[in-house]
């Protein structure tokens, strides 16, 4: 059954089983592989995308749930918050293996879009669902604070 939604600013129609997780629609059907599979159960955050501007786990969103909605992936996330996050990530060389970092960046952009000057507690709350097995957490925290300094309060 066709589903129509906005992907990274472009109107997109796919013909997938309506129960297919958005993660696999994005990766397999739409060939955008920046969004990663990590657990398939919303336990790790590697598949984080924005649905109508909010960070969600794409492995738990079904294709039918995105009809008419706005989906943004790591490939399409833009704006001053995303630019600030990427600049901070690169400046502090956050990534190691990098596999989780698409999800980390999307979660961080989601956080800073809502709270431009987050506290450590805000960061813990927003980012605790994003696992990094390289344990780059120390730098993720520092990079979020770094990005926040460049954003208007």
């Amino acid at each position: 059954m066709p589903t129509t939604f906005t992907l990274n600013g472009k109107k997109t129609t796919i013909d997938a089983d309506p129960e297919t997780p958005l993660l696999w629609v994005i990766r397999d059907d739409l060939k955008l592989t920046g969004t990663k599979f990590g657990c398939g159960a919303a336990l790790c955050g590697a598949c984080t995308v924005h649905l109508d501007g909010e960070a969600v786990r794409s492995c738990q969103i079904q294709a039918r749930d995105v009809e008419g909605r706005d989906v943004t992936t790591i490939e399409g996330v833009t704006g001053n918050v995303a630019a600030a996050v990427r600049a901070a990530w690169i400046k502090l060389d956050v990534a190691q293996c990098g596999y989780c970092q698409s999800g980390q960046v999307m979660a961080a952009v989601g956080l800073l879009s809502q709270i431009s000057k987050p506290t450590d507690q805000d960061i813990d709350k927003a980012m605790d669902g994003n696992i990094c097995r390289c344990s780059t957490y120390h730098r993720i925290r520092a990079a979020i604070h770094e990005a926040s300094t460049t954003l208007p309060g």
């Binding site: 696999w24 590697a46 690169i90 060389d93 293996c97 990098g98 605790d128 097995r133 957490y137």
Partner: protein, 737 residues
Amino acid sequence: MNAPRLTGIFALPGETPQASRRSFLKIAGGAGAGLVLGMAIPLRGVSTGAIAAASETLQPNPFLQVAPDNTVTVIIKHLDKGQGAATGLATLVAEELDADWSQIKTEFAPADPVKYKNFAFGVQGVGGSTGLSNSYEQYRLAGATAKAMIVAAAAKDWGVPANEITVKAGVVSHGDKRATFGDLASKAAAENVPEKPALKDSKDFVYIGKSFPRVDGKAKTTGAAKFTIDHQFDGMLIATIARPPMFGATVKSFDANEAEKIKGIVKVLQVPQGIAVLATSTWAALQAQRAIKVTWDDSKAEKRSTSDIVAAYKAKLDTPGISARKDGDVEAGFKSAAKVVEVDFEFPYLAHAPMETMDCVIKYDGKSAEIWTGSQLQTVDHGTACAVLGLKPEAVQIHTVWAGGSFGRRAIADSHYVREACEIAKSYGKPVPIKVIWTREDDIKGGYYRPIYVHRIKAGLDKDGNIVSWLHRIVGQSIIAGTPFESGMVKDGIDATSVEGASTLPYAIPNLQVELHTEKTGVPVLWWRSVGATHTAHATEHMIDILAKESGRDPVDFRLAMLAKHPRHAGVLKLAAEKAGWLSGQPPDGKMRGIAVHESFASYVANAAEVSLRDDGSVKVERVVCAIDCGIAVNPDVVIAQVEGGLGYGLGAALKGAITMKGGVVEQSNFDDYDVLRISEMPKVEVYIVPSAQPPTGVGEPGTPVVAPAVANALLAGTNVRTNVLPMNKQKYKGQS
């Protein structure tokens, strides 16, 4: 160069590369077309793009290419799984070439055990934190060679003496003449390759020892970095495997009726690993994996619970094992002791759980094969693919790609994730690309764990509180036994990876004995970041604090008094203590403080941890001060990142990591019941690097094993509770005493 002592992976102390090479020959010799060492394999993988016009490109050795467009492509012989191999090796080339960092690109090398071998192993592969240390001279020489040829070409072109030409940040100059590497590449390619180009003096380094950005930093914030799972080809099928619920179980029969009704299912196949499903989409393959009904033959399966295995191991603690080290006479030592303290330790199975689960992409047409995967032991994976597919080495290409973590998981003697992809491709028999993926459940339940170990340390203290006798008995499963590495790495019944860190205890103790009982289980086990040190560091370093407490001594002073002959241990210990404020008074209010030091992979690390207890009694690690001595820090920021990350990896396991089995069935399945460190649990970390002119040693692993004993020592100091069973959430810590 002096090879570092490599007790972790592949090489025993003093072992020659030839020994590892012999070990490897057994892998390849088994079946079909084994890989023949010494045989050059055409560099098919390298020739993409960068050397389109070969004569225009300077390629004096297999490690770099300088193209007319002024890019310098460094060929990375090791897998980069986050540890920074690509950045590190590119740094060495850029240094001696005097390239500008912005012109450096990297590509992973094809599988070739001759050109791209790891000098520590004798075959191509990385592990044991050897990536940079074994390449340190090789990649510098590669850069120096290219620079000498570029300078020679410029000298000829300009009619000036070569020794008057300067090269700086990618610009070759003499007087008012200027040229880029790209301008000179084709002329330089015609120059003779110098045999022994001079290497820089360390005082002239412009990159080595400085922190600058990783080569992969940007691609890993945009989603552009391509991992195995990201490879997509026209007509590609996705494969999953219904795997046995117990280790050693095999397929008795299966019913694929329900699975075959799922839209997108193309084929169901029985392979040695289980029942494989091939589908046109990942979602279909995942659904079908669950829908397959398999009856398993568990007659040869491991059916014990982990509690049974631990109990069996503990029973062995009362009997002497094979001696791994013997100094003096421990029994005489105990007789002379004023006090004897005996502590048993238990360490669980641990899964690596890298963020990218096992995966492998294969294109096979019956005559040749191409494989894309995060290959950590390329030569082993290559040999396995050749053997399974019955192809000659030159007919099989391995494309190493970025790996989403490994922590040891992708360095497997049986190459199982490459093997199964080959089995599926061969069995399916059609020339379509196939991507095999593992679910997280496959990963957590799939074995290849850090083995269970139990330890007993019995120590005697004299009347002044000095350790006069130390008997350390270890019981566990060998990682090496049963693999092709056994003949080279298990000596006189001792697998060095079972005892490293215990048999190398640095403290001056007159009577010291280390013994090992090697046990067998049906559970596949594997090296897990820092290997033997994952358990020996905790047992030895926590025991030292237990004894310091018995003697009423300060843990730092107690250690230093026994480290006179080990200045590098003492150096990091003092540095961590100083930076943590250990030497200047009490820990901050409400905090407990502990310290530990351990050498692994020829690097020395000390951790000083500040710890508190939450209201529910759980452990919160607030701050860890680390000191590391890893010889020359080629890129200090990468070293710091590895120590921070290694510490987090070790801390997650120490706090809550455990794989348990009931009746042979693994009880965990995903990140809910095999939880790992989260950002809210990451302490503040400070890393200090000991300045050094020694050759670089490993940094990927040595940061991992020291945090558990440092935290345990803090808890001992604050609550008087010993942490002799890991993980710490299995213990009850009372409030501070």
